[in-house]
Symmetry: C2
Subunit: 248 residues, 2 copies
DNA sequence: TGAAATGCTGACCACCTGGTCACGTAAAGA
DNA sequence: TCTTTACGTGACCAGGTGGTCAGCATTTCA
């Protein structure tokens, strides 16, 4: 038998890719096709990543799921890490943008109302990220604590960034005398941990946390006012996140 | 050249294992040696797991680090998952014991002081686990959110157990009217997330969270009383975790 | 229509990985 | 001392994995 057998044309192969060339509203057909391929590979990979973990997915798995040949993968991405970065990038950009803006808002905050407003902005950014990229956020939550190696470096970088910003924001609110005298690194990380855990619950539907839309409100109460029932009945009505007074 | 070359005795090999047979105070020499080997393999593996992640460590890595041949590994553990279970088991046992006890204490709690006491007990269990098995706890924190596959199944099982218990405990405190009307699954998971994030910070020394011994106190304040500065100065002195009144 | 350029393919390679097992050696027992 | 027993060893195997590349098909351009 010859060591390199000639490529057989299988009588029946997958839908022959049929090369649908939609012209695309702007930009060359080239770029449009490229973006479509990247998206196809990214979508296929993301689903596998969430199901089996970054390390549990091979390039073969990805290309098979995307319905392309292995070589095609390497035409679009240098390796698995590059693909992960590609998936993560838009979320990362939105996130830092929101965090920086919120940091500045907090810098200027001088009363509790302004602080509220700043935190509300972060919640909005997070909510947006989840609605637009739920898979990526879930992947982040699953993998962000692992060692920063291979495909995980950018993910862990984002995690550090988030923690750093959170602590920084807490520090700012702190210097304005708006918070209890608790070390900002402690309260900041605690908040990050709480939020991430709840997001994971929502995205993987493991525990019934009820309507996700009520989460920000519950979290705000939890973080700002704590769990313990106030000694003499509930506090006098305070503004809720939506601006309407709390229910009696 | 023969396809199977005869085993060469290298002139110099590793310390020849020297088979130190300390008699061991009780139990046969057999069992003592076995336990020593298991521990050696476990220690070597744990260090690698923490540094590179469960999936980033091969059996070869482990045996090499432990200074034994590959075949020896399979004499003591069926596969990598079995080794992880072996590492996790003592921590898991302590943990469920503590959680169950605390759940019962909370069941009986009718005032805030009793609730305090129950939570203090959990903190003690966690602290004990960290002091005795810091590596295992760190491994848990790194991997517990990944997909439950292969070597990670038991880890994820423990994670679910913890979350479940936390929600359950919160529910109990809730039914006794000790907490604000926030969905127990939400506040329970939030607390778990906060604690886990802080533990990770302590164990991997990524952010400076100060003296770990002050953490339980800070966390208690944070969770029970929240972040927001009380409107009219700090609350009247309340008991701290160590029973002494808070500093002025 | 023909030629050049581009893109996709999958066989192939070198290396790695989990797992096995015949063998040599040392301890336990007679 | 000799036999039996158990254990540690590492070469080996089969299956997989990341990554490459010559060849073919399709599109683009002249």
């Amino acid at each position: 038998m010859s060591p390199r057998k000639p490529p057989e044309r299988p009588a029946e192969k997958n839908p022959p890719a049929s090369t649908s060339q939609r012209p695309g509203p702007q930009g060359g057909v080239r770029d449009t096709n490229r973006r479509e391929r990247e998206k196809a590979l990214g979508d296929a990979a993301l689903e596998l990543f969430v199901a089996r973990g970054l390390d549990g997915v091979t390039i073969d798995d990805i290309t098979q799921a995307a319905g392309v040949a292995k070589g095609t993968f390497y035409r679009y991405f240098e390796d698995k890490a590059a693909l992960v970065d590609f998936l993560l990038e838009p979320v990362r950009r939105e996130l830092v943008q929101g965090l920086v803006a919120c940091g500045e808002a907090l810098e200027a905050a001088r009363d509790v109302e302004a602080m509220f407003e700043a935190y509300r902005a972060v919640a909005a950014v997070i909510a947006g990220a989840i609605l637009q990229h739920p898979g990526v956020v879930r992947l982040y939550l699953q993998e962000c604590r692992g060692p920063a190696q291979g495909a995980r470096v950018k993910l862990v970088e984002v995690a550090r960034l988030i923690s750093h910003h959170a602590v920084d924001m807490t520090r700012r609110a702190h210097t304005h005398g708006l918070l209890r005298p608790i070390r900002p690194s402690v309260s900041g990380l605690a908040v990050v941990g709480a939020v991430e855990r709840l997001l994971l619950a929502v995205l993987s539907e493991e525990e019934d946390v009820g309507n996700p839309l009520e989460l920000p409100d519950a979290l705000t109460t939890l973080i700002l006012d704590g769990l313990r029932l106030p000694p003499q009945g509930p506090r006098p009505a305070r503004r809720k996140l939506d601006g309407k007074p709390g229910r009696p």
